[in-house]
Symmetry: C2
Subunit: 189 residues, 2 copies
């Protein structure tokens, strides 16, 4: 049985490695399209499923494909990756002193069957000064991350706490993924 | 200004490195003694403060000493590091299907002044089968960790979620530590 991670995210790669899985990486190429009017959970399930479907088509054999999609939702706004430094600063000001939610959809395709679930985690930012926001933007960490921060980097000192799965905030809900993989006979422990 | 981490924990070292701090490592030697009748918060503050005091005495100059102590509290029992594999299995069975709390005390000593705080994080384990507990014990991960698990390892698939600071569960509450360091003029961002 071959396992393929349909994502180019270095964080997702690191997390699957932490679980001791042997896998290949084959990111989805397509620009996934978001339908209007979906909830955040429906959005990430839909996007993860599209990615899994696209990559599965390239591996006809005995292959498990794992895909995921993450969005950040703050004050009713869905935040993707920042366009530029100014956009990162805007997003970080929106997150400062407030709770927001991170949603990750994960989809596992195997033998033509698709299993997809979404997980939500609340993230509580402390009040962050403009000086700190600028210093954090200068680290470059915000640029390739939804919501303009990485919980596993220097933003760790800005985050008072979370409620939910930490790995979901990094881009892959590991406990939930373990449950899905178990149903198709892949045991992580 | 010299910074010294008064701990031999590889996790704490990794976390300070993640923050970009330059520091030396000098673990406390003494066996700290726990007073009877203290709350978990008082216990970890007392132990972290003892470690900081011991190591500070060895660095008379312009030195910031950071010490920490972590305990796990489940069903009213304080769990330290397991004595052996059987003890690890016993602890993991106690955690299965329940919430428990992880307490870390952090103490910063600088210029004769000691600043110490404690942070609590709730950790929710899913129901874990005996087979999984044995498989996890076989990884060797439980042996050097309070409560017999590491949230940053394969136990990630056993943990549904947490409420609080993830890094506190790893052994160092980074947001709180950042606040303490700021008061003595060390800015992490």
């Amino acid at each position: 049985m071959r396992i393929v991670l349909a994502s180019g995210s270095p964080r997702r790669k690191e997390l699957l490695e932490m679980l001791g899985l042997e896998f290949e990486i084959c990111p989805a190429r397509g620009e996934e399209s978001v339908q209007e009017g979906l909830s955040p959970e429906e959005t990430v399930i839909s996007l993860a499923s599209e990615k899994a479907r696209e990559v599965s088509a390239r591996f006809p054999g005995d292959t498990v494909v794992i895909a995921a999609d993450t969005v950040v939702c703050a004050e009713g706004e869905l935040l993707g990756k920042p366009r530029d430094r100014a956009d990162a600063v805007r997003m970080l000001k929106l997150l400062s002193g407030r709770s927001h939610y991170v949603y990750t959809g994960v989809c596992v395709m195997y033998g033509g069957v698709s299993l997809a679930e979404a997980e939500a985690t609340e993230v509580r930012f402390r009040a962050v000064s403009d000086e700190e926001i600028n210093a954090y933007a200068d680290t470059g960490e915000p640029m390739d991350k939804a919501g303009a921060y990485g919980i596993q980097g220097k933003a760790s000192v800005l985050i008072e706490g979370i409620n939910g799965d930490y790995y979901n905030v990094m881009g892959l809900p590991l406990c939930r993924l373990g449950g899905i993989l178990k149903t198709i006979g892949v045991h992580l422990l």
